[in-house]
């Protein structure tokens, strides 16, 4: 029992430790001197030395890693190198809710689009609707998210003038304005995911619909909608949940791109700006936080199989 619980936790810890080491080492390889990046050129050597000492750049690499990790575990991610020189943690904490909201809205919208489409498609297996939906989702999967976003902007904002652009209203400042501004970015994220989910769920639904218990339900005179919702959906959602776990990585990616495209103040914009400015404490902190969330949510999804399919409870727990 202890082994079953402890081993995955230890492995998770090892992976996270490796990630933190990787992130740290990677960014200590940055060409150029961070002290020069902060102060700019043309200061006295004493000033550079003082700053290097203050940033701990004169210590050996492993000592610096230990210091950084120790700080991180206490919630101290260091300070930003680029003005405003605020704490990295504060910046991350103010950016995280924006990204989390976008990703969550995107995911929910994707499921809202995908589940009915997949049901419709699977019910008319091989028919015209099925084939068109399959072609459309295949095409959509070949569109990078920034192209989808640009297309949506071109059609919905520039031509039809339905949505505002390039602004963000925080959730605290009124939920109506917030939703209005978040809708288009979230839709961009949702469309790609929806295409993937539709294909997966449709395939599993088609398999389920050929099973005997569906035939039995049909023989008892239940309506197609009722069969779909109450009998077929749950046994068919197994692959969908697996893909949900895999798609979180893509979800993070498209959230980053969408934030950049719509200039929203989330984690993606934070990382990209920091990467462009060589602001390495910021990149380190943000990448580590994203990796922890990502690994954690994947571990949670791994555990959720038991809820869907009782047969796996023992085998996977």
């Amino acid at each position: 029992m202890a082994r079953r619980i402890l081993l995955p936790v230890l492995e998770l810890a090892a992976v996270l430790l490796l990630v933190s080491l990787g992130v740290f080492l990677l960014l200590s390889l940055v060409p150029g001197d961070p002290a020069i990046a902060v102060l700019g050129e043309g200061r006295t050597p004493q000033e550079y030395d003082a700053l290097r000492e203050q940033l701990g750049l004169n210590d050996p690499l492993l000592v610096r890693y230990g210091d950084w990790l120790g700080g991180v575990l206490h919630g101290d991610f260091g300070t930003s190198l680029v003005p405003p020189q605020t704490s990295v943690l504060d910046r991350i904490l103010s950016a995280l809710p924006v990204s989390a909201q976008l990703a969550a809205m995107g995911l929910v919208m994707a499921l809202l689009i995908a589940i009915p489409l997949a049901m419709w498609s699977a019910y008319h297996e091989g028919g015209r609707a099925d084939r068109s939906i399959s072609a459309a989702t295949f095409g959509l999967l070949s569109m990078p998210s920034f192209l989808v976003g640009l297309l949506l902007i071109a059609v919905l904002v520039n031509t039809l003038d339905l949505f505002p652009r390039n602004e963000w209203v925080r959730l605290g400042d009124g939920i109506g304005g917030n939703l209005q501004h978040a809708f288009l970015p979230a839709l961009t994220i949702a469309l790609m995911e929806a295409a993937m989910f539709t294909r997966i769920l449709r395939n599993d639904l088609v398999t389920t619909l050929h099973e005997d218990f569906i035939l039995a339900a049909r023989a008892r005179g239940m309506s197609p909608l009722r069969i779909m919702v109450s009998d077929a959906l749950r046994p068919s959602s197994f692959s969908l949940v697996t893909v949900l776990g895999l798609s979180i990585g893509r979800l993070v990616g498209s959230t980053v791109i969408v934030e950049y495209l719509f200039a929203l103040p989330g984690m993606g914009k934070l990382v990209i700006d920091a990467a462009n400015q060589g602001n390495y404490p910021m990149v380190q902190g943000a990448v580590l936080v994203i990796a922890v969330i990502y690994v954690g949510s994947n571990a949670l999804i791994d555990r959720s199989y038991g809820l869907l399919d009782p047969r796996t409870r023992r085998a996977r727990a």
Binding site: L27, P144, L147, L150, R199, G249, V252, G253
Partner: protein
Amino acid sequence: MLAPEPVRRRDGRTSLALAGAAILVAGLGLAGWAFTTDVVVTFVRMVLLAAGILLAITGLGRLFRGLLGRKVDVVFWLGMAWLVLVLGAALCAPLLPLGNHDDSVAGLTEPIFARPDLGSSHPFGTNNYGLDVLSRAVYGARTSILVALLAVLIGTVVGGLVGMVSGFVRGTTDRVVGILSNALLAVPPLILLIALGSVLEPSVRSIAFALSLLTIPSMVRLARANTITVAEREFVLAARALGAGRVRLLRREVLPNVVLPVLSLAVVMISVLVVAEASLSFLGIGIEQPEPTWGNMIAEGQSGVMEKHPFIVVVPGVCLFLTVFSFNLLGEKAQKRWDPRSAKL
């Protein structure tokens, strides 16, 4: 009684071909009109263009079915034709009579934002530095596809070998490889690329290296899983009983059975990497201007340029879409044939 049968079928096929040709011409006509006209607004033109293209594809399908007497996967063959065209153009780019693609000093004498005009010396127009958009799209294909192919090659060879060895040796090696590849998978792909991009110099070689890191963990997993199933089969046991060493077992018995699924994943990966490279360049972290890639060409359309000059985004966008679409078609076919287990999509 039986004699007229083939004639009538032949008749049906001719009329099918004729109808197909008519639909094809109508579709092409509609698309062409929508492409060139100024009468209706952009949005309606886009819808008409899409309808025209769909119509033309339907027509082409009927035409071939009529001519050949069997169903042809027109979309697949159109995709392959596009890939041949793009790869050919990318390979021969320096030999083609193309305009100026990256010399912004020479671009000073050219008109900026010239509208696309198929008859002029800039068939797809020029950008804000007076550089030729067609030429940039072709050279962009060169960079985009070169980077993706290089990365897939590195990823397949390294990931495939590591996965095979780890699945064959098992034990501690396997566990270490597992933790390492899990650590690589623990950072979302694009975030990993951005972190790498902030360190590496933006050149074709380093971007290809960064992208190959994305392919390695999934390659390792696939190769490992396949190796484990193959290694338990009787023919491996037989070879082992005959006295074959580990290297020989891996090379002669395991490799031939693992290579096809790995290759089919490699084909799928190409399109993923083309998108990843484009995203990176779009974010301004990948290949930098003035050297063109499809990603940074699309980025030129930001801050209001797209609204005034849609072709700046449309030309590289369509190239990117068609290429990814075609590689996806190819990947789907490859996976269905070589690795039916993982061809779930």
